[in-house]
Subunit: 333 residues, 2 copies
C-alpha cells in the first residue's frame, strides 16, 4: 500500500533527524545558534545575531477568497512572519517574498496583495529587499522570509520544572472569526470600514475579524528580560504547548479557568453554537506568545506551570485530564 | 476588460518603484548594501556582509515529473539558489525550505526530494537551518532561501562602457536537454547511472542531462577579483544580458561566433532539428555566470563588450542586429 505523508510534525522530525549529523563546514556551524525546530533560526554574523524565518500561505489552505481579500493575504503574510521574529525576541528588519501566481491573474489582485504587504512592512519598519515571482498552474502560493536582529534570542527549549506558563493575549479569537466568516461567505474589507450583516453587534465582531484577517502581533516586551522559553501561538495552544514542552523536555499543567478569552469571542460562540474552550485550546492563528518564566510577571496571563511530564489541563472543579493535540493539522484529512 | 499580470519583469519593476521611498528605519536602511533587483540582497550585519536570495520552483512550470524525479527537484532547488549566491561573489552557508505539498503525497516523494536537498547541501557545505511545510490543494510548490557571506559583493549595475563581456561556460545545454527529455517523456535517474534509449550516444547526452536535471554551479573565481558586474544566466543569455545592461545603464555587443556552445549540444540539435544558436541565446537554466570586466581574463569566454546603448548581436559575416528578449517568460501564454 502506498504510504502518504501524514503530519507536518513527522516531516519536520524526519528532516531534523536526517540533517543532524551532516558534515557542514565547522566554521559556520559554530556560528549557528538556533537551527531547525524553533520559530526562527539564529546565526552569528560577526557583529549581530541574525534571526531568519520563513512561512508560506497557500490558497485553499491558509486563505480562501470567499472570506478574505488579496490585500489581507499580503498583510497577513508579512505579519505571521513578524510574529515568528518577535517570538525569538528579535526585531524584524528585512523581507523577501516568493510568489507563485497563476497565469492570467488579475492585476488588481497583485496590486491589492502588494498594498497589504506594504501596509504591514511600514507598520513594522520592515524593508522589502528581494524575492522571486513565478507562475503556477493554478493556485496562489505565497511565501515570505523575514530577517531580524536580536541580542538575546529566546528559544523553545529553555523551560524548567517550576516555571510559570504565560500567554500574552486572548486565545481563540481568530478561529472564532473564521467561523463567522464561513457563515457569511463573503470577504470583509476591514481596512475600508465595511460592516458585516450578521445578527451580532459590530463592536463585538470587529476585533475578532481583525485578529483573523489582519493579525497585528505586538512584540512581547513582557517576556524579553525574563522568559526561559517562548514561541508564538500560531497553530493553537494545545499543539504549540506540546511542542514547547517537547523541546524543553518537560510537561505542563494548564488551568482552564485561567485561560484568557475575549468577551467578544464568548458572545460570538453563543451565536455560532460553538464551545469557546475549544476555540481557545484548538484554534490557531492568534499570534500571541506562549512563554515560561521562573518569576511572576505583570502584563500577561498566567495559565499554568511547567511540570516534569505530561500535558495536563485542570478544569474549574479541579479535575485533571490530558490536554490532547487538537487544531488544524496539515496533511490530515 | 480585466487586465491580467503579464510579465515577471513588469511585476518586479512595479514592486521596486512602489517600495523605493518607504519610510523604513534609517538605521537599518544604511546597512542595506543591495536591495531589490539583483541575484541576492546584501546587508551588513555589523561583522560580515550577508547575502540572501530566494527562488521557488512550481510543478508544471519549473519541473514536470514526466521528465524528472523528486530527488532531482530537491537537488536543483538548492543549487539554483547556490548559483544566485555565487553570482553575488559570496559563499553559501544556510538554507531554509518552504514546502507546499499536496495532501496524500507519497512518502517516497518527500524522502526522495529531501535526499536531493541533502546531497546538494553536502556538496556545497550548506546547512539546513529551518523552514516551513504546509499542505496545498494540488500541486507541489517548493521555495528555498539561501544565506551566504561575502567580503565584496558583485552587483549587476557596475558595468562600464568599454568593459569586456564574459560568460563562464557553455550556454544552451540545459534547454537542449529539456528538448531531449520531452522526446523521451520519462524521468532519467542520473544519480543511479540509468541510460536513455535515444538515437544519440550516452557520452553526448549525459552532460546535457546533468546540466538540466541536476545543475552543479561552480563559484566563478575568475570573476572574483576583477568583475565590474555579474549575474547568473538563469533565464537565458538574451534576457539576462538585457537585465544586466538595464541595471548598469549601458548597452552591449555580442559576437555570435564567440558564443560558447558544447559539441554535445550541437550534436543533439541535429537530432532534435533545432537551432543551437536559439538554445544558446534563449535557453535558460544554464547556471553559468555573465560578467563584465575592464581587463581581459583567462578561464572564461569573452563574448562581447559593453557599449553605450543598444543590445546588439553581430553574426559571423559582421552583420549586426538587435538582440531581442527571448526565452521563458512567466505569465506569458
Amino acid at each position: 500500500m502506498k504510504q502518504t505523508i501524514d503530519s507536518e510534525l513527522s516531516l519536520v522530525s524526519y528532516i531534523r533527524e536526517r540533517f543532524k549529523k551532516r558534515p557542514a563546514r565547522l566554521a559556520q556551524r559554530e556560528k549557528l545558534l538556533v537551527g531547525i525546530g524553533d520559530d526562527g533560526a539564529v546565526f552569528d554574523a560577526g557583529g549581530r545575531q541574525v534571526v531568519v524565518t520563513t512561512d508560506a500561505m497557500a490558497e485553499g489552505i491558509h486563505f480562501d477568497h470567499l472570506y478574505c481579500t488579496p490585500y489581507q493575504v499580503g498583510f497577513k503574510l508579512v505579519t505571521v512572519n513578524v510574529s515568528d521574529v518577535f517570538a525569538m525576541n528579535a526585531n524584524p528588519a528585512y523581507l523577501l517574498l516568493s510568489l507563485t501566481l497563476p497565469k492570467g491573474l488579475d492585476v488588481g489582485y497583485f496590486t491589492g496583495f502588494m498594498d497589504g504587504v506594504m501596509n504591514a512592512t511600514d507598520m513594522y519598519g520592515v524593508e522589502l529587499i528581494g524575492g522571486d515571482i513565478t507562475s503556477s498552474m493554478s493556485a496562489v502560493t505565497v511565501s515570505a522570509t523575514l530577517i531580524g536582529f536580536t541580542d538575546a534570542p529566546i528559544k523553545r527549549d529553555g523551560a524548567s520544572v517550576g516555571d510559570l506558563l504565560y500567554v500574552t493575549g486572548h486565545l481563540g479569537d481568530s478561529a472564532c472569526a473564521l467561523g463567522l466568516l464561513k457563515q457569511r461567505g463573503r470577504p470583509v474589507f476591514l481596512e475600508k470600514g465595511q460592516r458585516v450583516e450578521l445578527p451580532l453587534s459590530w463592536p463585538a465582531m470587529e476585533p475578532l475579524l481583525w485578529k483573523h484577517l489582519m493579525p497585528r502581533p505586538h512584540k512581547p516586551e513582557v517576556a524579553s528580560g525574563c522568559a526561559s522559553a517562548m514561541m508564538d501561538v500560531s497553530d493553537g495552544l494545545s499543539i504549540d504547548l506540546i511542542r514547547l514542552c517537547a523541546e524543553s523536555g518537560t510537561g505542563a499543567r494548564v488551568y482552564e479557568r485561567q485561560l484568557p478569552m475575549s468577551k467578544e469571542m464568548v458572545e460570538a460562540c453563543l451565536y455560532l453554537k460553538e464551545d469557546p474552550l475549544e476555540f481557545c485550546l484548538c484554534g490557531g492563528e492568534d499570534y500571541e506568545y506562549l512563554f515560561t518564566t521562573p518569576v511572576a510577571v505583570d502584563g500577561a496571563f498566567c495559565i499554568g506551570e511547567i511540570i516534569p511530564e505530561g500535558i495536563i489541563i485542570q478544569d474549574a472543579s479541579g479535575t485533571e485530564r490530558e490536554l490532547k493535540e487538537c487544531g488544524y493539522e496539515h496533511f490530515k484529512d
